[in-house]
Symmetry: C2
Subunit: 297 residues, 2 copies
Amino acid sequence: MRSSTAVAVLGLGIMGGPMANNLLRAGYDVIGYNRSPAKVANFVEQGGRGAETIAAAVHDADVIVTMLPDSPDVEQVVAGEDGVLEHAASGALWIDASTIRPDVTVRMAAAAADKGIRAVDAPVSGGEAGAIEGSLSIMVGGAAADVDAARPILEAMGTTVVHVGPAGSGQTVKAANQLIVAGTIELVAEALVFLDAHGVDAEAAVKVLAGGLAGNRILDRKAAGMIAGDYTPGFRVDLHHKDLGIVTAAAREAGVAIPLGVVVAQLMGALRARGHGSLDHSALRLLVDELSGRARS
Amino acid sequence: MRSSTAVAVLGLGIMGGPMANNLLRAGYDVIGYNRSPAKVANFVEQGGRGAETIAAAVHDADVIVTMLPDSPDVEQVVAGEDGVLEHAASGALWIDASTIRPDVTVRMAAAAADKGIRAVDAPVSGGEAGAIEGSLSIMVGGAAADVDAARPILEAMGTTVVHVGPAGSGQTVKAANQLIVAGTIELVAEALVFLDAHGVDAEAAVKVLAGGLAGNRILDRKAAGMIAGDYTPGFRVDLHHKDLGIVTAAAREAGVAIPLGVVVAQLMGALRARGHGSLDHSALRLLVDELSGRARS
């Protein structure tokens, strides 16, 4: 059954690559495209089909999944010259798994509708490990019928798939997600430096903090690296900085005060400005160390 | 065996009352004291012994547990006239479960040592529910031998009991705990108002946020109340405001920058100044609503 459904995946990077592999494993007929052709060759080695152009990838696709870095990339690949909307068949379903600005999503969904193409925004949380394991959390915006049509595809890539509202809503929830994640990393960073400065055993402290109302996924998954000073990505500061730009713009647009959100956006920007953009976002601890005169070698 | 160990509990409030009950249930000979005698009468009804003065409570006690609101209360009850240090037997073990300033704890532990009384600081996390269930997280500071002696008592009141360092360390970890908890509540509040302003279904959003890297205990336990506008305490804004004063003073003393910590301390103070001190700390959402011109009736 599924092998009759042709899925084009545009963007075979750290996230898109393993997501395309999970679609293959679920039995879909998957054709991959990427700007740099090495990743396409790699996907073909995994058993997928490869395309040299967007047009070739989407021409016969029932479903098109995009997994791209930022809003301009999605605008270019989807609405640009020789892009998705120019070459996809009417009636195709476009699932955008990228994290981009909600207002861009709304605009692009309308442009897709003009061409008879159904659009669903489905940004993901869970990182590279979640993409590989197929255990992503996916926040989905769009019309109910389109989200229902997308669900089998999404469930091949994630374990928590929730329809949160109309077009753009998935991106809005992802923005809220990125606000909470960045803020929680910063809170844990402040707590760890505070404990360190007072001579408290950080590993014992993390154990007891994780057991109470302070418990969170950052303490569970990131604190050990933050104590060891290991900031191998994971999710890069550059990308989280981009996401916090989306959060602050969307909050401003809606007239919502996000006092912690704007402070952590500034801190993430400062961390990047100091040349740490390619580290994991948990490197916010580096900045707290530096601000506290406790920079470690 | 345990019935031969006499435990005095000073402070039978929302937390101290159920903690004393759990000591009774574990088989200890418990004598309770409280400034307002109604709570002592209530404890006697539960099967405990009551004392009318601190002197009477601690005179024959092997272990003394204090559970008091703030640093001056502990200083008064322990080191004040007719207090614990004046009347407890040499060799007694004093466990302070209150949340107070780490520097006060260090000073009081030294004063206790001068009288031959061993001191352990053991602030708790988990709230009224955790106190009733005996499932508190307890962060313990003190000499290893004294912490070992205190452990059976602490394990009658909590499930996670971790020795984090010398005298005062328990308070330092509790301060870090209160920093993370307040910050996480504020992040969730900002996210909920942001989602609301964008017309997204908050309950669906919380479900997917809780499943990813944004997952935390506040989303699990407090978000439903914050969506419903139910701010029944729980843990009062007044007390969390007091705790954030401890955090900011201790950070300043150690020269540690806590940019999110100081902002949320200000927000908690503003919430209190607006007359909401007796609400649950999750009422930080009220303030974000007000700052965003979205006050709800």
